[in-house]
Every structure is written in C-alpha cells, then in structure tokens.
C-alpha cells in the first residue's frame, strides 16, 4: 500500500505541471464561477467568489469550518435550489453557459456535475448493483447489457469491483463504511459526469480507505474535473493541482497547490496552512 502513495506527489514532468491559473486559455476551462455569492436570508455564505476550474484537474477547497466551502461547492450543481432560504447571485459557467440561467433545467446540470457527500449515502433498500445503476435508470437506460457493463466500469473506477463482484445483488448497506463511500463514488461516476464535486469524501473513513479514495481521485483526473473539499491539508497537497483557501465566506487565495502551500501570498493563508488557526 505504501508504495502507491507515490503518484500523488506532484512531479515536475512535462505533462503534469499545472499551468499557472491566471494564464489559462479559454478552451481549457470546464467550469468557472464569476462573482458567486450565496446568501442564507441576509447572512452571507460565500461572497463574490470567482474561480476558474481547468479541465481534468483537481482543485481542493480548504479553510476552517464554517468558511463557506460547502456552500460554494453546493452552488456548483444547484443544490441550493433545494434550500428555501438560500439565494445565489453571480454566475456559474459550465462550458461558458450560466447554469443559473432561466432556461437551464437543474436536473440536467446535476447529471453533468456529480456529487459525493461527506457521509456515504447508499440507498439502503437497493442492492449494490442497483445503487450503481440508479442514475442510469433515471435517464431511461434499461438494457441489461449496457447496465452490467457500466456497473462494472464504474465499480472498477471506484476501485470496488474486485471486492464486490461476487455479491452485486446483496444489499448496499452490507458494505463497510469505506466501501459504501466508494460505492457512492461509483454511483456518481456511472452517469459519466463532466465534473465531480466531493464534499470531504474521506472524513468518515479510516486511513486505508482514505488512501484508496485518494488514489481514485488521481485516476479519475485523467477524464474529469474534480473539485474536492478537505479539512486535511496533507490530503489537499497530495491530490490537488490547484487549491483555493476560503475564510469566513471570502475567497482569500487561489493558485497552484504547490506554490500556495510553499509560498502563500496572503498572511491568512500562511497562518492557516501552518496551523496557527482553524
């Protein structure tokens, strides 16, 4: 297991040096927020946040509890639509189209922008198999061959297939916590999202399971754009290309992970990553 940690280190080989975030060509940006503000009633969740997310990169959102990371993340696939009090201002551009435009159906957005939550959320009455293909059945795919194929692929991507291949029909709740979380990831991946949002996906997992999820993020990066919230700064450093630091609803600093951790531009960032608060 230990040897597998290696790939996370940001190596200075040619193809994975993240480009500096401020000279991006427009083509490269998959998702972008412009002056995004989320208010709960009159209280600000996040204020005026603009971040571009490049295609096939991992961006970590860090910051102390209550700093607005989750609020920000949930704005990216319109989960705030479900909270009566929450009000979103500004724009979230998915491929240069604002997902908050009146003619956009949030259901379609959520199929393109998948989400994995802090706690594993398998549907308890469904089998492992049915959990994975739940999203596919929503879009009307009933063909058993396709479902089987996608189920195996998604479980493989989530590094769970080998553990469950003999009991795909058993209840999802029979899995361990770490397996359930990987199942939740497989379920999100099965619908082939373009962007995957992860809200502290490893916070309820043991180190072993955490490691597997981190490996997984590294593999997934080849195909999709990932935005991950984490409280663990080592994790942010291990898995992400870019990091954004939030503090009380404001975006303090965003940049290439390596430079943000080694050479933060703002005092608050430095204080946080060196453990002086938060």
């Amino acid at each position: 297991m230990e040897t597998k940690v290696k790939p996370f280190r940001i190596k200075a080989s040619e193809n994975n040096i993240p480009k500096p975030i401020n000279d991006l060509s427009k083509m490269d940006i998959r998702l972008e927020t412009k002056n995004l503000t989320v208010k709960y009633g009159s209280v600000y969740g996040v204020r005026d946040v603009s971040i571009p997310f490049r295609n096939k990169t991992v961006t970590a959102l860090i910051g102390p509890s209550g700093c607005g990371k989750t609020t920000y993340l949930r704005a990216l696939n319109r989960m705030h639509d479900l909270t009566r009090e929450a009000k979103v201002e500004g724009a979230v551009l998915l491929e240069n189209k604002n997902i908050y435009d009146a003619d956009i159906n949030p259901v379609i957005i959520r199929r393109k922008v998948g989400m994995v939550f802090q706690k594993p959320t398998p549907f308890p009455t469904m089998s492992i198999y049915d959990n994975v293909v739940a999203g596919l059945k929503l879009v009307g795919i009933r063909n058993k061959g396709i479902l089987d194929e996608v189920c195996e692929k998604a479980l493989n991507q989530a590094a769970l297939f080998d553990e469950v291949k003999d009991r795909l029909k058993s209840p999802a709740v029979s899995l361990s916590g770490g397996q359930q979380q990987r199942l939740s990831i497989a379920r999100a991946l099965a619908v082939e999202p373009e962007v995957l949002l992860m809200d502290e996906p490893t916070s309820s997992l043991d180190p072993q399971a955490t490691l597997r999820i981190e490996e997984l993020i590294h593999t997934l990066k080849k195909d999709i754009t990932i935005i991950i919230i984490t409280h663990n700064m080592q994790q942010a450093a291990r898995v992400s290309d870019n990091t954004a630091f939030f503090y009380v609803g404001d975006l303090i600093e965003v940049g290439e992970t390596k430079s943000l951790f080694t050479n933060p531009k703002k005092k608050q960032t430095e204080d946080y990553i060196t453990g002086r608060f938060g």
């Binding site: 696939n77 989960m79 479900l82 259901v107 379609i108 957005i109 959520r110 199929r111 998948g114 989400m115 939550f117 706690k119 959320t121 549907f123 308890p124 009455t125 469904m126 739940a134 999203g135 929503l138 879009v139 709740v173 939740s184 379920r187 999100a188 619908v191």
Partner: protein
Amino acid sequence: MKPEHQKDSKTSVNEVQKLPNIIYLWLGDKIFSVVVVLLGISIILLALGMAWVLLDEGGLALREFGFFSFVIGTTWDPAVQLAFGAWPFFFGTIATSTFALLIAFFPALAVAIFSAEYAPRWLAGMIDNLIQLIAAIPSVVIGIWGIFVLAPWLRDSIYMPVYVWAETNAAGLLPILGNPIGYGMATATIVLALMIVPYTTALAKDAIKSVPKEQREASWALGSTRWEVMRMAVLPYARGGIMAGAILSLGRAIGETMAVAMLIGNKNTLPFSIFGAGATMPSVIVNEFREAVESLHLSSLMAIGFVLFLIALVVNLTAAYINRKLSIGGGQIL
C-alpha cells in the same frame, strides 16, 4: 489534599451544599420507582382485565358453540333458534375495512407526499390542520352526514345507474350488487375510507418526514427529478412507516362503530352484497346490546367483542412487525 484550583477559594462546594437527608436520598427514590412501576403495570393489567371480562362474559357462548365454530358459524338468530355464529359480522368487518383501506391508501399517500414535499409551508400547515379536523369529527356526526348526504347521493348517482345498467345488460350480477337502497356495505366502506384517510396520511407523512436529508440529496445529485427523488430515495426509505401506518389505520377501520352502524343497513344473515345491507362486529354489538335479554345472546355479543379484541391485537402486532422488518435506521414511527 485539595486539588489545586480549590486551594485558594474561601468556600468549597462541599461546605456550601447541604447534604440531602437519608430519607430524601433513599426513600424518595424508592417511592418514585414504585409509583412508576405501578402505573406501568396498571396499563398491562387494564388490557388483560378487559380481555378477561370479555372472555368471561362471552364464555357461555364460547362453551356452547366452541370458539372456532362460533367464529365461522353463519347463523345469527337471537329470536327463534337462539343460535349464534359470528361469521357474517367477521366477514362484514374484514370486507369493509380492507376495502376501505384499499380505497383510502393511495389518496392518503398522495396527500402525505404533497404536504411533506411539494406544498409550500402555509399550504402544508393548512392541510395538516384540516386533516386533524377531519380526524376529530365525532363518528356519529359523520354517520348523520352519511345518512342525509352521502348515502342518498351515492344511491342516486352511482348505485341506481349501475343497478339499472346491470338489469338489462348483466342480470347475473344483480345478486352480487344487491339492493341499491343506499345504506349497505359499499356506503359503509366509503365512509370508513374517508374516516381513516387522516390517520393513514398523518402516519405516512411522519414516515416521509423522517427520511434523512442526505438520502434526498444523494438522489438529487444524480440528476433526479422531484418524483424520481420520491421513488428512488424517499418512499423506499419510508416504506416501513408507511405500511405500518396503513395497518394501524386498518385497525381503526375494524373498530369503527357508530358511523358504520348508522350506514351499513344492519342485516344479520349472509349473503351480503355490494350495495345491500350488511353488518360488522362493532355494529352488531352496538345494535343488539340493549335488546339482548337472553343470557346466551348477551354472551354471544361479548364473545364477538373478545374476537374483535383478538383481531385488534393481531393487527397491532402486524403493524409493529412490518415497521421493524421494513424500516431502515430512523424510519420507524412506532
């Protein structure tokens, strides 16, 4: 030696507090436990006592006919033969309440889903209050409404047209349809359905409300529409509570007396027909109790009460079992 933080303080907690006396410490606790235990046991004794009285008073009839023969006996003749069999009422009870549940269940579930998930807050609150209001209407009032409004309406706009149609087109159906006078099994079933809708709705709503937010969000995040969230995450999670609530409502329908007695037509002999008169266990008890002069007749009514008690017990145990069997995590309502 005192701990560090107490050294300098002038008054330590031990000096200030008065130790409660031994009577308070020992006896107070004992008295409280005894009172609580006695009250708890009294509920059990009350239930057992009621069962015992019914069994004891009904013993004459049960000994005369035998328990099983009494339940499946089809003759109920308090006037001439003095033969008593509970089957017509048993059948009438099960038929009316089961069909009432079948009629009430889906509309009630729909109302529960609407008020829990779809309705804006003010409307949901209004629906809840109205549901409680319906549940609070005394059943004799519903009975009167049934006699003067519902039954005539059903007779004129449903029973009669169906009967007239059947007379010319399907004469074979006439015995099954029965006399469309307006007071009978169908009317009683419909009124029962109306009366249990509030219970089914309230219990289903509780079950739906208890589904964790995470489950809904997981389904939303997959790109579910509202209805798909209900079907994928909410209803499966809440199914234990919903089903248990339905069974409990069935229990209420089985025990409902007054409105049924006023609307079912009260006929003691099989066969019952859809529109025609019938009877249920509670209705026969309330109708005949005052006039039961023969001790065997009175005892038979008591025995019916005992059978009803057993049915209620079975229904409640079933509801508890289903709730436990089907519920997930916090989804239990019982």
